[in-house]
Symmetry: C2
Subunit: 315 residues, 2 copies
């Protein structure tokens, strides 16, 4: 259960009075989600999702809200925030920063086919292209600096073999010329549970709370590591080719991106191995984190070190 803050019907009905979305018909808490309290809200005019922000600082919220508004403005299926009658996205409800967003249709998919991966690759490229004209900037909060810092914090908590792998890998990654790669706004967490499928189409991409500016190739690697990996951690060739070709159709790869693709896959694997180790050994108080197995991403990292991934040739 992930509703951390209760909302009363009276308070919500009154709060909706600041919007032009009609009267409250019904609402219910949403079980999924670990960072915020979310509610499905139905009014006389439509279906929305109410989010009470539990952990993101209020000052950081405009970046995310305006980003999804910008992407929706460019035709992408993201949870666009609804402006109130004063043209504001962010309000306060039950003592928390609160926003209303459009409810998207669709459901998660656990076993994607290459055809699904084609859609995901095209969608990620669409996000990257539309993000180029987004005016606000913040650094990707799980970038190279974060990875180095978290590694220091978790090293005392892991076994000798893991510590050695971590140190060696960080040192190797520090020598790669990631800085010269094309940058932009990245989603940074485009996992299967952040994409809603409406039949064969993507009905929604959600959860932009790790977004920020970083290399586009890193975002692609995060996405491929989740959508195109087999149980042993190695890449599924068909799904990976489908996703990468669809992405490359929209935004042509640079030569430097081709060279650094294996390194990007390793950096992306390391990022999630580190955060999972941290969630396991150093949980933050007051945050309800769903602890996921760190070894899944250790396996992926090792498979990427051993593997020979490459971006598809030009058509």
């Amino acid at each position: 259960m992930s509703v951390f803050t209760a909302v009363t019907e009276d308070d919500l009905a009154r709060w909706l009075g600041d919007y032009a979305v009609g009267r409250l018909v019904s609402f219910e808490g949403i079980a999924a989600g670990v960072q915020n309290s979310n509610f499905f809200v139905t009014t006389t005019l439509g279906r929305y999702v109410l989010t009470l922000f539990e952990t993101v600082a209020r000052a950081d919220l405009p970046y995310y809200l305006h980003l999804t508004a910008h992407l929706a403005h460019h035709g992408l299926p993201v949870p666009a925030p609804v402006a109130d009658r004063n043209n504001e996205y962010l309000g306060t409800l039950s003592g928390r920063p609160a926003a209303l967003v459009r409810r998207l249709s669709g459901r998660w998919l656990t076993d994607p086919t290459p055809a699904h991966c084609t859609r995901v690759g095209a969608m990620l490229a669409g996000l990257h292209l539309a993000g180029q004209s987004y005016g606000r900037r913040q650094p990707h909060p799980r970038g190279a600096q974060w990875r180095a810092e978290v590694a220091e914090r978790v090293l005392p908590h892991v076994g000798a073999e893991d510590a050695e792998l971590l140190r060696t890998e960080l040192a190797w990654q520090a020598q790669q010329d990631f800085d010269a790669l094309p940058q932009g706004v990245i989603h940074a967490d485009l996992f299967r549970d952040n994409v809603l499928w409406d039949g064969e189409l993507i009905g929604g991409v959600i959860d932009f709370y790790f977004a920020g500016t970083d290399t586009l190739l890193f975002d692609l690697a995060v996405t491929v590591n989740d959508w195109c990996t087999m149980a042993d951690g190695s890449l599924d060739a068909a799904r990976s080719a489908a996703l990468l070709e669809a992405y490359g159709d929209e935004r042509a790869y640079t030569e430097h991106e081709r060279r650094l693709w294996p390194a990007a896959l390793r950096a992306a694997a390391l990022r999630f191995w580190l955060s999972r180790i941290e969630d396991l050994h150093l949980p933050r108080s007051g945050e309800m984190v769903q602890v996921k197995d760190p070894n899944e991403y250790r396996r992926i990292l090792v498979a990427r070190i051993d593997g020979e991934a490459r971006l598809p040739d030009r058509p």
Copy 2:
């Protein structure tokens, strides 16, 4: 058939390259619509509608495109335009001004129940409330001045009885104090064929090309005259009450609006009687107008003159 301008697959695929909506999968002309050429467009990322504007002047289009963007921004189900990579809504395709909008789901309804009319009343109020913060202005193109001018043009073409009714009604309406009524952006054409139903909810409100600033009460009267009228032209009490109560729940009626409600119904009836007479007797060349029976709105006008409509009392 209402596709006036042809689009080739190659041209459309190239044109979509200016957007971040993925690759063209398929497209087809839409039969409905009398003013523009419309196409359903499916890309790898979603479903859209392409409009080539055939009759609206290019200079007037930003008012409509930004209006629907503004209303969507406030959470209302309208066809929001998609911005291209340069953040522009309006492009050129096949030599016509062209825009891509989000495709809405739902279908028209010919026989609304009071429950449907409740939704329509709430939606119209939502449009009026959200419209209050819209920054651009243009006069409603079918306002009192247009009605007086068109009456002059059509008078020579109608019979003596109709001419007498027209003259008397215009003279009576000119004496009503419409100017002191609350004003704002009105849709001005919220007929049944401009509302798409997605089950019990309104999935979309379309066709804003008569929108402009005028009295909100006039818009309400246009809507009631279409949604709540029986075959003999008189008001259906249950549907009318449902629509007006739902609207009044969102925006309380002023005393002046209560006094002028019968007059607003007559002005709204006259507006469509006039435009239908004009379409019948003075069709504009180059425009494919679906000629509708003027007598339907003559009957409604006469029924409103004879009737005793009133806005619902406060709850």
